[in-house]
Symmetry: C2
Subunit: 181 residues, 2 copies
């Protein structure tokens, strides 16, 4: 019997959820998407809900908690040289926000409480640098592989960095004993 399932969540249409049952990483859910009628893709909320509901049925009676990276739009503010510093436009921000909200909403609809994980907090805990400070997107995947060689297959591809982030986010919450507000 499982007592506690922690869902580490890396938001976004290419995001992922890492599932940790009583401290042991057991599986990953890549965020399912579907085409939007107008253009692009969006989170398939019914599909995502079905997958998490499936986990709940696998672990009946377990306490589920989600740890979700707190993300924001990156406004294209001008840098010191007057050039745009960052590159997330209005439409991209909307889609990223929608994807983030959909994840929060599905969890809420399933009654799962959410702990916010600020990037600075969980990355500092693992000695990972943000990309602005010279860190690389792949750093967290390499670290996760080091910590869990048994997960090599699930973390084999560079695009598995979302899974690795999700896994480290969940572990951070456990190791630092975060609780939902």
């Amino acid at each position: 019997m499982t007592f506690r399932v922690t869902l580490g969540c890396d938001p976004g249409n290419s995001g992922a959820i890492a599932v940790i049952a009583d401290g042991q990483p057991t599986s990953f859910i890549d965020i399912p998407t579907k085409p939007r009628k107008t253009s692009g893709f969006q989170v398939d909320c019914l599909d995502l809900a079905a997958r998490i509901r499936g986990l709940m049925q696998m672990h009946p009676g377990a306490h589920f908690i989600a740890v979700v990276e707190e993300v924001n739009a990156m406004p294209s503010a001008g840098g010191a040289d007057g050039e745009p510093r960052r590159r997330m436009g209005s439409s991209t921000s909307f889609k990223f926000g929608q994807s983030y909200g959909a994840l929060q909403g599905v969890l809420g609809g399933l009654g799962v409480e959410i702990i916010d994980a600020f990037p600075a907090s969980w990355k500092r805990h693992y000695g990972l640098k943000g990309q602005k400070k010279g860190g690389k997107k792949d750093d967290s995947r390499l670290l996760a592989l080091e910590k869990f060689p048994g997960l090599a297959k699930s973390l084999a591809r560079k695009k598995d960095s979302g899974r690795a982030d999700a896994l480290l986010i969940a572990l951070w919450a456990q190791e630092t004993e975060q609780v939902a507000a």
Copy 2:
């Protein structure tokens, strides 16, 4: 016994849901929000889910369907005169997207299928003009009051325009027999 509950949804942090049970408007849910740790407000997904779950308990066995206005970011593209035409920046777009996604996610988490309502479709059906074509935000509220004088109390304030939109969105789906894709 209720056979069918239609939830007309106007997305956004000031949005609302109109509840129609077997063709009769019965109540409204104003989207509940809570402060974000960093700044501003976001949809309170657990609270919203609890309210919709409450409706499901009130109408056991009824088929629930949601009709959600399809919204987008409004990029601040330059107009013919070179001045910005619209005013939704990156950060506002992110928040609007998050709010939209949260609504979709909560519905998905509760297993409720969603019908998309394009603004042009439901507004045209009721002869309402978009704001860019000289329509006013309050037009839908005045129309809803005309159609349902019994709802005067729920639609008394100008800020109830979200409720009115939600109501007309649900009615549009019924009158035009929209079904989920």
